[in-house]
């Protein structure tokens, strides 16, 4: 070791590795419950966990520290389990409770609080590198990925067995009957960095897969696999072949398009089916009534009146195409000269009446621009194709064109399209405004579609079979961008329609809902039917027809309750062949590999079984999930037991909690780790049960005070002779500050929030003006877990206090001390605003200065201030008069000091 700096650099090389057979490594051995050791001081231990700790202490000639006092325990436990400070009432209640199980009750209360999930979800989110954006140039948002965060919170709160927790993330979509939660859990695969403009797309795809494989191996198995991507692992016997075998579990995953998809809410499909059936019956009855009444009323009109109405039929119609063609290249306008030119092979088939046009996906008919202000376009459509586009998408120009006036790059346009899952969508540009029908019209029957647009109000409406599908307010300008309109396709560049069109008509005004219904139901008088019936003799039939129109308008089609999620999907039931990629170069294919688990673990061969019929998925991930969550997997349970210990004691029994291999640290207490892992399995993989076990141990309850004699023997506290004091995490600190000033919101779940950022921080973004969102002050005071996680722009208070870097799995947070932390907590906008709110709270809640000081300190430290301390701040308040501070202003400065104290920021 020639040089001091190479010492720094060579952590990995300073490992002493015993000559062991590969499978003899402690972490890869089968899990067995070790015998509980005998201890000299048997009376000290509260449970078997303590006996393991004590045996280690006794062997080293150490004594366990005394238990911490009740206040310390309560503060420690509350922060540990919920990330919050205990309230005044909670502190008083615990101090007053002298029952032997007083602390047990505290543990139960904390575990029952939903804030427990908020705290513990964060640990997992660090490990899986949760972020809400992609990184890179555009750093786009991952839509609805916050649902994954909420799912993790709920899983912890619901004490989801760990195996189930991991399985849902790995393969929730492949379960026989997945819930929405199971699908949301697979958002796990969409958390990483993602270059939307890669220079080498194939390489980038394997970089993404590497991120998934590597994170899975580290997070769930404590295996550091990444190096084997390019060469056989130097320390752990993981050959490159094993890496690519492991990778191939994921190789069938469809590359992300980062589009959310709408899935039915739990139970919604059944509910919806019932509602739709009731709706159909009700509608049929009204339609029958309307038809009967309209026929009667029509019959009562004089013959002359009927003739005059017939003559009006085409008034307001700009063009009408019945599709009864005699020329294959021309679509005849039956009321004027605005004939259409046929491109491709539009053949004639039997239509709704007479003939119809059949489009096969690359045909279209071009029409002059018939309308641009107010208009209605209506037609009959029939198809058994689902239509292109994504289910969550309502942009007409991403579907198959029916009637299109879209011009790429222009905004003053409009269109109607046949979209994913047999939906009809329509919309106008500038601003883009879209409407969509429910899915399911690809039933091979004729459907009447109408789209109306009123220029003066910008209102647009879409109807299928006379039934309103929705309306919205769009722009009010002329939609004059398209020089031509297209039937049966989108403007060049877009997708063509596959199906039949008939009876296309353009009106120069937005028809009313009743007029559209009359058209669709083919009532006598057509579009004029409502007006005619309204003007008809006021007899019972006329009125009944009008009231039926009203009933029809009032009847709302039930909506399928859907949830927008970002989840995983595979490319088909058969996965592609996998290959070793020589030296990590994706273009250099080596030997073929099949999915397989790392051989070091002497694993079984993966059992890959077909997933449920219809699902385009290979079942590979299910096989992986089953192996990882099997009770005899040697790593999964050790890794989890270690993480639990880490987050309760400040460090894992294995300090390198993502790496149980030979480059990682060895456990300080190997038997204890195995015992905990077995215990975990026997307790039904319940984390809450393990929290109870750990928090009720004497080991966890030890004081953190100095013991020079012990420190001399074990300076690093390897043997746990005391509890290690720790600084609050970034989230705990920010939340605690909001908590003491009374503004912290404990609201759970939902989209992330955007606390205000200083302009200086926004200026570091390449688009400072839209780099960050805006939240109300109440929302900005949500718990830190809910602050938006943007890869290229971190909230500065969280960032400076060592929030996890989100580009890599973060098993252990750094805990740095930097002057920038002092600057942000003394001078920063957040600290200043919080100190002001804190002082206002004290002014409100306590009668005089000494009482305010006592209350403030109690809120921060969960103890009574000493007389000396009260006097110190009274003196300070007096002294600050020199700087022109009245009592309120001086109190605010006291508050600022208090949230900066070590006693506040550290956990004893």
């Amino acid at each position: 070791m020639a040089h001091s700096l190479s010492l720094l650099a060579a952590v990995g090389l300073t490992v002493a590795i015993a000559a062991q057979e590969p499978t003899d490594w402690w972490a890869w051995r089968p899990l067995q419950r070790p015998a509980v050791p005998a201890v000299a001081d048997a009376g000290w231990a509260a449970n078997d966990l303590d006996r393991f700790v004590l045996a280690g202490l006794e062997a080293a000639g150490l004594q366990p520290s005394a238990s911490a006092d009740k206040r310390t325990l309560l503060r420690r436990a509350t922060l540990d389990l919920t990330g919050l400070l205990p309230t005044g009432a909670e502190t008083e209640a615990f101090l007053a409770d002298t029952a032997p199980d007083a602390f047990d009750k505290v543990i139960e209360r904390l575990l029952a609080s939903p804030q427990y999930g908020v705290k513990w979800a964060r640990h997992w989110l660090d490990v899986v590198r949760f972020a809400e954006t992609d990184g890179y140039e555009r750093d786009r948002q991952k839509p609805f990925i916050w649902r994954y965060r909420d799912w993790v919170v709920d899983a912890f709160n619901g004490d989801l067995p760990w195996g189930r927790f991991l399985h849902a993330q790995l393969a929730g979509d492949e379960l026989p009957a997945p819930t929405v939660g199971d699908l949301v859990a697979t958002g796990y695969y969409r958390l990483g960095i993602w270059d939307d403009e890669p220079t080498d797309p194939e390489q980038a795809r394997y970089d993404d897969l590497d991120g998934i494989a590597d994170t899975t191996a580290r997070a769930m198995l404590g295996i550091s696999m990444g190096c084997a991507r390019c060469h056989d692992h130097k320390r752990d016997p993981i050959p490159t072949r094993d890496y690519y075998s492991f990778l191939s579990f994921f190789e069938n995953i469809r590359p992300t398009d980062h589009q959310a998809k709408a899935v039915p809410a739990d139970g919604a499909v059944e509910r919806h089916a019932n509602e739709v059936s009731a709706f159909a019956t009700a509608r049929q009855q009204i339609v029958a009534r309307l038809r009967g009444a309209a026929a009667n009323a029509w019959g009562q009109l004089s013959a002359a009146r009927r003739v005059s109405i017939g003559a009006q039929a085409d008034a307001g119609v700009v063009a009408r195409y019945t599709a009864d063609r005699d020329n294959p290249k021309t679509l005849h306008d039956t009321i004027g000269e605005r004939h259409g030119a046929v491109h491709g092979q539009v053949v004639s088939v039997a239509g709704k009446s007479g003939l119809a046009m059949r489009f096969d996906g690359d045909d279209r008919v071009e029409l002059p621009r018939l309308v641009e202000g107010s208009f209605t376009v209506s037609f009959q459509v029939r198809s058994d194709h689902r239509g292109r586009g994504h289910a969550g998408d309502t942009r007409w120009f991403s579907g198959d064109g029916l009637v299109d006036g879209e011009v790429s790059g222009a905004v003053a346009d409009w269109g109607v399209a046949w979209h994913s899952d047999g939906r009809v969508v329509a919309g106008t540009g500038d601003p883009e405004t879209f409407l969509a029908s429910p899915p399911g019209f690809h039933d091979g029957r004729w459907h009447h579609v109408a789209f109306t647009r009123d220029q003066s109000t910008g209102r647009i409406a879409l109807y299928v079979d006379g039934e309103p599908m929705g309306e919205a307010e769009g722009g009010k300008q002329l939609l004059s961008a398209p020089p031509k309109l297209v039937l049966g396709g989108l403007q060049p560049g877009g997708h063509g329609f596959r199906g039949d069109l008939d009876e296309v008509a353009f009106h120069d005004r937005a028809l009313s809902a009743d007029e559209v219904a009359a058209l669709a139901l083919e009532l006598p008088g057509g579009v004029h039917a409502p007006a005619v019936l309204g003007a008809a003799p006021a007899d019972a039939d006329g009125r009944s027809a009008l009231s039926a129109f009203g009933d029809l308008r009032a009847l709302k089609r039930p909506r399928l309750d859907t949830v927008q999620i970002l989840a995983v999907a595979e490319q088909g039931r058969e996965a592609p062949d996998g290959f070793v990629r020589v030296r990590g170069n994706v273009h250099a294919k080596g030997p073929q590999v099949a999915p397989g688990f790392p051989a070091i673990l002497r694993p079984p061969a993966p059992q890959i079984e077909a997933v449920r019929p219809g699902l385009q998925s290979s079942g590979r991930r299910t096989a992986l999930a089953k192996w990882i969550t099997a009770p005899d997997n040697p790593l999964t349970w050790r890794v989890l037991a270690n993480r639990l210990w880490q987050h309760h004691f400040g460090r894992g029994l294995v300090r390198s909690s993502n790496d149980f291999g030979k480059l990682g640290d060895q456990p300080t207490h190997p038997e204890l780790l195995d015992w905990l892992a077995v215990e975990l399995l026997q307790r039904g993989q319940s984390l809450k049960s393990m929290h109870r076990l750990i928090l009720s141990s004497k080991a966890w309850q030890m004081a953190s005070s100095p013991v020079p004699a012990a420190a001399a023997i074990d300076p690093r506290n390897d043997r746990f002779w005391r509890f290690d004091r720790r600084r609050m995490t970034a989230e705990e600190l920010r939340d605690a500050i909001l908590q003491v000033d009374g503004s912290l919101s404990l609201q759970l779940g939902g989209p992330s929030v955007f606390p205000p950022l200083p302009a200086e921080v926004l200026a570091t973004s390449s688009r400072p003006e839209d780099a960050w969102g805006h939240s109300t002050p109440e929302q900005a005071a949500r718990r830190s877990l809910y602050v938006h996680v943007k890869r290229s722009l971190q909230e500065p208070v969280l960032a400076v206090f060592d929030q996890a870097d989100t580009d890599n799995s973060c098993p252990v947070r750094f805990a740095t001390v930097q002057p920038t932390q002092a600057l942000i907590l003394m001078n920063g906008d957040f600290a200043q605003a919080r100190a002001r709110a804190f002082a206002e709270r004290l002014l409100r809640e306590a009668p005089d200065l000494p009482a305010r000081i006592r209350l403030g300190l109690r809120l921060c430290w969960q103890r009574e201030a000493t007389a000396e301390e009260v006097a110190r701040y009274e003196t300070l308040v007096t002294g600050l008069r020199e700087f022109g501070r009245d009592e309120a202003a001086a109190l605010q400065r006291c508050c600022l000091i208090w949230i900066n104290t070590n006693e506040f920021a550290f956990v004893d």
């Binding site: 001091s4 700096l5 720094l8 650099a9 090389l13 300073t14 490992v15 990184g135 890179y136 140039e137 555009r138 960095i193 403009e197 220079t199 080498d200 970089d207 590597d214 580290r218 550091s224 696999m225 990444g226 190096c227 300090r655 790496d659 291999g661 480059l663 005070s705 100095p706 300076p715 690093r716 004091r725 200086e760 200026a763 570091t764 390449s766 290229s792 722009l793 971190q794 500065p796 960032a799 060592d802 870097d805 580009d807 890599n808 947070r813 805990a815 740095t816 001390v817 002057p819 920038t820 002092a822 942000i824 110190r872 300070l876 400065r893 600022l896 000091i897 104290t901 070590n902 550290f906």
Partner: protein
């Protein structure tokens, strides 16, 4: 080599702290504690204290002038006389850029004349008349290449050596390796363009998997230089001192019962360091004492050059005060707000070269006259260069080119008047002595006294290096 893993003695204090994670937070302050006698000297190496390099260094500081967006090498420093007569002609040529892979392109002849400068007779375009006069101090690398011709990944590569996000930047490596010579200022400083940051923002000065201690600090050239450095409105230093004293008294009482906890003491000291920063950082950016001649040298008298000139002058002041790594961005935001000349090459490059030519020459001259150039490496370049052909059917805009481009370095023991490597005769690809970005990084680390193939940080089961697991050699002609 072999040392037991689980003993403190086997490692330096710093490694021990990082490995231990949450239970030992005192990183930044150990050095100060050591200095102030709060910690016994034996207990720790000071993380940000200056440290001995691997070998005798030629340079102790770096100023990286980052021409974000990608300046065109054939219009600036890579003279290609054969390109002029081809202007407007469509030729067969393999290119890869934003517009994808192409086999043909319409040549855009260089839009500026080149002339020879200096003793070395270097050809420099009329975009950089002032820098042209400095060529005898500059070493040009004409045969640079990078892994990506797209901004997002290319920026990450030039700054962190990888196209994947998540690795520490060159400045982080420099401060990690060498510490800082002035603890009252950040060791790694970034100054951004007034139009905004580059794309991917803070990822370009991130410490990645290293502690945040080593990430770049954004320094503003006017107003409050560092986030939250300024006192809150209405507060004076005297009043703040009163508050800090009260805080100290409270913390001291708290510490009394926890006397062995160095983290608590370190955090106490961090408030004093912050207070000193409040004084030193504004002093560092205060230009009042700079003479009119100096200000003129940097172009502070011309609205066109004033902004970048101020940043260059600040860079000198920071280096003078012991800052290890300063990065100055020319260009920010998107489109023509930086060097990304897709549309009108002349408009774009006149604008950015016009804003930077005089300040850069001023910086070089000023460093030289103060004897600082000997120990300061100045690096000029973007994340890539530009193609010899047009991007679109019309216009003079050029697409990105990572297959061949020019960077230059000066100072820090790097010989001047030198040109290394060539691109082909159209400037399209590096052909002779091609150098990867990693070779550039290796060169800079080498001049700082570090062996680029030994400097590593253990993370994710690997001794991570700036130059990657394969390693990279410095550019021989430059060291």
């Amino acid at each position: 080599m072999a040392k037991p893993r689980n003993t403190f003695c086997g490692r330096t204090r710093r490694e021990f702290l990082w490995q231990s994670g949450a239970c030992f937070p005192a990183l930044g302050m150990l050095d100060l504690l050591g200095r102030d006698g709060l910690l016994p000297a034996a207990s720790g190496e000071r993380p940000m204290a200056p440290r001995k390099p691997h070998h005798a260094p030629k340079a102790r500081a770096v100023i990286f002038l980052f021409m974000y967006g990608g300046p065109s090498h054939v219009d600036t420093f890579d003279y290609k006389p054969k390109l002029y007569p081809l202007d407007g002609k469509t030729i067969d040529i393999d290119t890869k850029g934003r517009g994808g892979t192409k086999k043909q392109g319409r040549v855009v002849g260089p839009k500026w004349n080149f002339r020879q400068h200096g003793q070395c007779g270097k050809w420099v375009s009329d975009l950089f008349p002032h820098v042209g006069r400095c060529v005898d101090d500059l070493a040009f690398v004409h045969s640079m290449y990078a892994d990506s011709p797209l901004h997002g990944s290319a920026m990450l590569m030039m700054n962190s050596g990888r196209i994947l996000s998540g690795a520490p930047c060159l400045g982080s490596w420099a401060t990690y390796a060498l510490g800082s010579e002035n603890e009252n200022l950040p060791g790694f400083v970034v100054m951004l363009d007034r139009t905004g940051g580059p794309i991917s923002g803070a990822k370009n000065w991130s410490s990645g998997f290293m502690p945040a201690l080593y990430q770049g600090t954004v320094l503003r050239s006017q107003g409050e230089p560092i986030l939250d450095l300024a006192l809150p409105e209405g507060m004076t230093l005297a009043e703040q001192r009163r508050l800090l004293d009260a805080l100290h008294a409270q913390n001291a009482a708290h510490l009394a019962e926890r006397a062995d906890d160095t983290d608590l003491a370190a955090r106490m000291e961090s408030y004093e360091l912050a207070a000193r920063m409040q004084v030193h950082a504004p002093e560092a950016i205060e230009l009042a004492n700079e003479s009119a001649a100096t200000r003129g040298l940097y172009g502070l008298d011309d609205p066109r050059t004033e902004d970048f000139g101020r940043k260059c002058l600040l860079a000198r002041r920071l280096v003078e005060r012991g800052v290890r790594f300063v990065q100055v961005y020319s260009g920010g935001n998107h489109n023509d707000a930086n060097w990304d000349a897709h549309g009108d090459l002349v408009f774009n490059h006149e604008k950015h070269a016009g804003a930077t030519d005089r300040p850069i020459a001023g910086l070089l001259a000023d460093l030289k006259q103060r004897g600082l150039l000997e120990s300061t490496i100045v690096v000029w370049g973007g994340e890539f260069g530009r193609q010899p052909t047009a991007e679109y059917a019309e216009g003079t805009g050029r697409d990105h080119n990572s297959a061949g481009f020019t960077m230059w370095l000066a100072g820090g023991g790097i010989p001047g008047g030198v040109s290394v490597g060539t691109t082909d005769e159209l400037g399209n690809r590096a052909v002779e002595r091609p150098f990867h970005v990693k070779n550039l990084h290796a060169t800079i680390l080498h001049q700082l006294g570090m062996d680029p193939n030994r400097l590593s940080f253990f993370f994710n089961g690997l001794d991570q290096k700036l130059v990657g697991p394969e390693g990279a050699q410095p550019i021989h002609e430059l060291i």
